[in-house]
């Protein structure tokens, strides 16, 4: 392995996850931490920690110069960006290359192309993959009106530079068009510095299905199966699982192959996720976007394939071929992940930073907890509210669900409010148990939960 020391340019549970993967490969790790994270678990468990700036992420985790300086100053020869922060900024990948550092992720041109949703849609249609019916760049309100009529209401107004659900507006009828178009443009300008918008058909009864792909620099591409991430609140995933339930084997295989086709045509290197929308009313699927990073929900794939995706990322970046071929990928059982966030479900999910008095996660052979928390840890107010990912595996879905219920019962967190009570509620819901959900289902349960809470 030519990678000998990895700078971990992230925080929280994913930093811990990357440090573990490095250790398993016999590689040293350096945690780049903000001032607020100097006593964090990544800072303590990495071989070394370096303070890169003040708590505000704009002054620390989002500063490319500081990441590069920290990597060079500690003799690291690779940088792992995790997810969020700089993970999908092609500028970081380019800066790494310029300074002789290996970026553990895809090539910058793939990050750039897939980062722009319009470019991504155009590229992927060329590969013969269905994309959600929609427009190219919409220049002005007059054009917006014409295109929206063509697609039909309700229509989605989306930011080309968007991501993470930001810059998306549902336009129910023509009367709402002007306001939606103008506010979406303003939001996109503020959030991404780019107010390019486009329209897409709105699919009311949709599932969000994504496929994990891996590619190496020798042109080998495999898929590692799909995940169902339909349970979302405000476009943020809450529960994910693999494989996707209630999907015909024919459609499942078609979606997996479509993802592999996308990755192959992009000459994709490293780990990525091809996201699709499945229209349950039409039995059709459409390409949505490619996430050019390791994803939060990667553990459910690991739990049913036995593949360590983060180790695989490091090996690929090191220039090694994929450690397995498509026919060697074996799927076994079912896995579910719940995101444990510091939000108060009984108070409109308001973020709840503060001191964790007691942290007692569940244990067991089919239970996995990815976390950076411990009793006495203070959840800082500067970052996202993810405390842990709770993952259970079963031989089939019902066993995985049963184990998740038990694991949630045995998860004790005192000091900060968490979404655990809400997750327990969801896991016992008959719709969830039956897999009869779509991307709007969870929002409705928020309402239900607040009534019975």
């Amino acid at each position: 392995m030519s990678i000998t020391r990895v700078l971990v340019a992230n925080r929280g549970e994913i930093a811990v996850r990357i440090i573990k993967a490095c250790r398993a490969l016999g590689i040293e790790s350096v945690a780049a931490v903000s001032q607020a994270d100097k006593e964090s678990l990544p800072a303590r468990t990495a071989d070394r920690a370096v303070c890169i700036g003040p708590p505000r992420s704009a002054d620390s985790y989002l500063k490319i110069e500081s990441i590069i300086a920290a990597a060079l100053g500690t003799g690291s020869n690779a940088v792992h960006p995790g997810y969020g922060f700089l993970a999908e900024k092609p500028e970081l990948a380019e800066a790494c290359a310029k300074h002789g550092l290996t970026f553990i992720g895809p090539r910058p041109e793939n990050i750039r192309q897939m980062g722009n949703k319009l470019l991504a849609r155009a590229a992927v249609s060329e590969f013969g993959i269905p994309v959600v019916p929609g427009s190219k760049k919409v220049k002005n309100l007059a054009e917006a009106s014409r295109i929206a009529q063509e697609i039909g209401f309700p229509v989605l107004c989306k930011a080309a530079a968007g991501g993470g659900g930001r810059g998306i507006k549902i336009v129910a009828d023509p009367k709402q068009l002007r306001e939606a178009f103008e506010t979406a443009a303003a939001e996109a300008r503020a959030a991404f510095g780019d107010d390019t918008l486009y329209f897409e058909r709105y699919i009311p009864n949709a599932r969000h299905i994504e496929v994990q792909v891996l590619g190496d620099r020798f042109g080998n591409v495999i898929h590692v199966g799909e995940r169902d991430c339909s349970l979302q609140r405000r476009y943020q995933k809450v529960i994910e699982e693999a494989p996707a339930p209630r999907l015909s084997e024919a459609l499942r295989e078609e979606i997996r192959q479509a993802a592999a086709t996308v990755a192959r045509n992009l000459h994709y290197e490293n780990a990525g996720t091809v996201e699709f929308i499945v229209d349950q009313d039409r039995g059709a699927f459409y390409f949505l976007e490619v996430n050019t990073r390791i994803q939060v929900e990667h553990p459910v794939t690991e739990m049913i394939t036995g593949i360590d995706l983060v180790q695989e990322q490091i090996r690929i970046a090191d220039g090694q071929p994929l450690s397995l071929s498509q026919s060697e990928v074996r799927f076994s059982g079912h896995a579910i992940e719940c995101r444990i966030t510091a939000e108060s479900p009984s108070h409109a999910f308001r973020p709840c930073p503060g001191s964790i008095v007691e942290w007692r996660p569940p244990e067991g052979p089919s239970v996995r907890v990815d976390s950076h928390c411990f009793s006495g840890y203070v959840v800082p107010p500067f970052y996202d509210s993810l405390l842990a990912k709770l993952i259970t595996r079963g031989d089939d879905r019902s066993e995985a669900v049963e184990r998740m219920r038990l694991a949630l019962e045995n998860f004790t967190v005192r000091g900060v409010d968490t979404v655990i009570p809400f997750l327990r509620f969801l896991l016992h819901h008959p719709d969830y148990t039956a897999g009869k959900v779509n991307t709007r289902w969870l929002e409705a349960q928020v309402e239900q939960f607040s009534h019975c809470a």
Binding site: V30, D47, E65, T74, G75, F374
Partner: protein, 146 residues
């Protein structure tokens, strides 16, 4: 802003950005969830502590960014400041280089350089103590208060 005990305030000095040795792993490997190293301060045995000492009444000038610290404007030039030298608030006390961009570090406090805590070419972290400055006391007699 002065680094507290238990956290490595810096790295072995001297060779600039060349590979600084890192401390050995503190934690065992692989277990997916492990009991956090928790309350006890982490052992950082091999991290070479830099003596930022305590100079009574002195204030620290800390690194405003992570990067490579230089004591002089260019190789071979006289350093910006020397031990015992006077600085005013706006005085440049050193440079920090980040991706070929040199940023001036200002004293921030008027006084006398009481301690130099870093070496030329050393990698410094954000918030690391670079100098200690004894504030200048302007009094009629020579006796400091207390």
């Amino acid at each position: 802003m002065v680094s507290k005990s238990g956290y490595i305030p810096g790295t072995a000095a001297g060779s600039g950005i060349a590979a600084a040795p890192v401390a050995r792993p503190v934690m065992s490997s692989t277990a997916e969830t492990k009991e956090p190293v928790a309350q006890a301060k982490p052992a950082r045995a091999e991290a070479k502590p830099i003596d930022t000492g305590v100079v009574e009444g002195a204030v620290a000038i800390t690194a405003p960014m992570v990067g490579t610290f230089y004591t002089a404007p260019e190789p071979g030039a006289a350093p910006f400041v020397q031990l015992g030298g006077r600085v005013d608030e706006d005085a440049t006390v050193g440079l920090i280089e980040v991706m070929k961009v040199f940023n001036a570090v200002k004293s921030g406090a008027p006084g006398v350089i009481a301690k130099i805590c870093v070496e030329n070419g050393q990698f410094v972290e954000y918030g690391q103590t670079l100098f200690l400055v004894r504030p200048e006391v302007v009094l009629d007699n020579e006796d400091p208060p207390e």
